[in-house]
């Protein structure tokens, strides 16, 4: 494959719907005929809203063309590290969209929603089994909210014991960036500890900072460095002996699925990104599902609602059942459509399938890493194996040729690959964080390596080609500084 370079004609750029607007053009076929009679006259708007004015056919074509420009897991390899962009099986959608699920009103009596509640109950039970935890709440609506729930429970636990001095959360520097943000949101002070040259937490630094002020530690495992933490037993003993709790950031759960369980490692709380590990559609900002699992000590503090089961059937547990709950994090049951998809996915893959996910996610990543190493690319942690993802550093290309990780990433788009995660984690200069997931075939992985090899050759022979990339997409290199500093989010029709 040899994507046409700078001389190529880029794909036509689709104008915005505002550019297409012509005053007075209407598509009234689907407009309601009468104004809603129950809106009081004083509250009715007097002027038409400033909406773009196009015909129905123009609107249909515009959005159809935009949808054809989508870069998605359904069209392209998407090795976006730490995002687990795996294939979303069609069967999950099919069952989650059964009319009995879609038509169910969230306020319908629970006796009329026993099937749905049973799915949620069984999902809680399966997640307990997978993580080795004692209880699970599905209510957080995103990973960040799951993290918030986790640290809020740690705080509630210490407060319930009358221990108000534990105001510090320890966060290793290889953690997800959301971890310190979560701790801060929960009113905690963040104590950062460094990693050593092999990517493990520095245990000596941990030893120095644990103490009577330690509320807990937030560990991302495998960490954002694409390595497994190797000192968990020591780390757990240090933090537990000091009276703190252990939080497991489960965003990278794909790497250990079916293999080891955070509950068995001694963690007190975990959040899981169901939209990553359990394959529900994501990538456009949601919807997410950040279920939390807890050990025995945090059971009373789980966010509600939780689905319980007794002789009379399934029902929501609320404040009466869990009086010490940190509270309600979503109006109903989290993002229930996402939860259903995760439930169906888990039922489809089953226990053995679950083990294969962890095995193939790590096998694919290690295969890719070995191929890249063989081709002379530079791993950030050369002494370590990959987890479900790994990091290449382009620092020598940047130093010797002035070609950065971002230039490689942009040029990959021309080759039909979504770029890996760039410039994250910040610890590694000029990095690409690559996560293939278990759902890619060997041919796709080989194709990606071949593209990177071809781009590296270009970087030596014609660096300008990379600097100007992408060349074949409707939108060329964006001016990120201007985008960040001169946001213009309003539109007015031309006078």
């Amino acid at each position: 494959m040899n994507p046409t370079p700078a001389s190529a004609i880029a794909a036509p750029r689709e104008p915005t719907i505002f550019d297409l607007s012509r005053s007075g053009r209407r598509a009234e076929a689907q407009m309601p005929q009468a104004m809603a009679a129950d809106v009081p006259p004083a509250l009715r708007r007097r002027r038409r809203p400033l909406l773009p004015e196009v015909s129905e056919l123009q609107a249909v074509r515009h959005y159809t063309r935009l949808s054809q420009l989508n870069f998605s897991i359904d069209t392209h390899f998407y090795p976006l590290g730490s995002c687990t962009m795996k294939y979303n099986p069609r069967g999950c959608n099919q069952y989650a969209m059964l009319p009995e699920f879609l038509g169910r009103h969230p306020l319908a009596p629970v006796v009329q929603g026993q099937g749905y509640l049973q799915c949620m109950y069984e999902l809680q039970e399966m997640l307990k089994e997978v993580t080795g935890m004692q209880g699970v709440s599905l209510t957080p609506m995103a990973g960040a909210q799951g993290e918030f729930a986790g640290v809020a429970m740690i705080r509630a636990y210490h407060h319930a014991r009358g221990d108000l001095d534990r105001t510090e959360i320890i966060v290793p520097e290889a953690a997800h960036g959301t971890n310190p943000a979560t701790a801060t949101m929960c009113g905690m002070k963040v104590i950062e500890i460094p990693c050593n040259a092999d990517g493990d937490c520095d245990i000596e630094s941990l030893r120095k900072v644990v103490g009577p002020r330690t509320a807990g530690i937030m560990l991302t495992n495998p960490s954002t460095l694409g390595v497994f933490e190797r000192h968990i037993a020591e780390l757990r003993a240090l933090v537990h002996d000091a009276g703190g709790l252990l939080y497991y950031d489960g965003a990278n759960l794909n790497a250990i699925l079916g293999k080891v369980r955070p509950g068995d490692m001694g963690f007190d709380v975990i959040h899981m990104n169901l939209h990553k590990t359990f394959s529900t559609p994501h990538g456009g900002g949601g919807p997410g599902a950040g279920a939390v699992g807890v050990g025995a000590r945090l059971l009373p503090f789980l966010p509600i609602p939780v689905v319980g089961c007794d002789a009379k059937g399934y029902r929501y547990l609320d404040e009466r059942d869990l009086p010490q709950s940190i509270g309600r994090l979503s109006g109903f049951m989290g993002n229930s459509g996402v939860l259903l998809r995760a439930y169906i996915y888990m039922r489809m893959v089953g226990r053995e399938g679950m083990q294969r996910i962890g095995e193939y996610a790590t096998l694919n990543a290690n295969y890719l890493l070995a191929r890249f190493r063989h081709e002379g690319f530079e791993p950030a942690y050369p002494t370590r194996r990959a987890t479900h993802e790994f990091i290449l550093t382009m620092k020598h290309s940047a130093r010797d040729l002035g070609v950065t990780a971002m230039d490689f990433a942009k040029r990959l788009l021309d080759f039909g690959y979504h770029a890996p995660t760039t410039y994250f984690p910040l610890l590694v200069p000029e990095c690409l964080l690559i996560e293939p997931t278990e759902t890619e075939a060997k041919e796709a992985l080989d194709g990606f390596v071949a593209a990177m090899v071809a781009i590296r050759k270009e970087s030596v022979e014609d660096a300008a080609l990379l600097k100007g990339a992408p060349h074949t997409l409707p939108v060329r290199r964006l001016d990120d500084v201007r985008a960040a500093k001169h946001l213009d989010l309003t539109w007015k029709p031309a006078a």
């Binding site: 410039y423 994250f424 990120d480 500084v481 960040a484």
Partner: protein, 132 residues
């Protein structure tokens, strides 16, 4: 990557610089190396006057197109002023890191603490170690 490390300033391993002013105050910013590594800076938040800082406190934020980073106070002391001009022109940190791109000015709790920071040669060594 060329790094400008003025000889008359003091430095930290976390890439802040400190200038001792004749009136006993000190000015803090991020180094040329730091602004290079961050890339185009699009936002800066500096501490308010009167705030008491401990050495190592994360008290300013610089955000580039790549990342948001905390800036740590090299010294304990009381903030005299943050650089208000950065609100409208954060790119000054890129164009003039040791001049108009300063972040905040403080009155050090201990004037001698400045001497304990890295000198230019010491900071050059830190940069050389991190380069390979």
């Amino acid at each position: 990557m060329s790094n400008n490390v003025p000889a008359d300033l003091r430095y930290t391993k976390s890439h802040e610089w400190v200038r001792r002013n004749s009136d006993g105050t000190a000015t803090v910013g991020i180094t040329d190396h730091a602004q290079h590594a961050l890339g185009d800076i699009v936002f800066a938040e500096t501490p308010e006057a009167g705030r008491t800082l401990a050495a190592g406190d994360a008290c300013a934020v610089v955000e580039s197109v790549k990342a948001a980073s905390d800036v740590y106070s090299p010294l304990a002391g009381t903030v005299v002023a943050g650089n208000a001009a950065l609100a409208d022109a954060p790119e000054k940190i890129n164009t003039d890191p040791y001049g108009d791109g300063w972040l905040w000015q403080l009155t050090p709790a201990d004037a001698a603490a400045v001497d304990a920071l890295l000198d230019a040669a010491g900071y050059q060594r830190v940069l050389a170690e991190s380069a390979e």
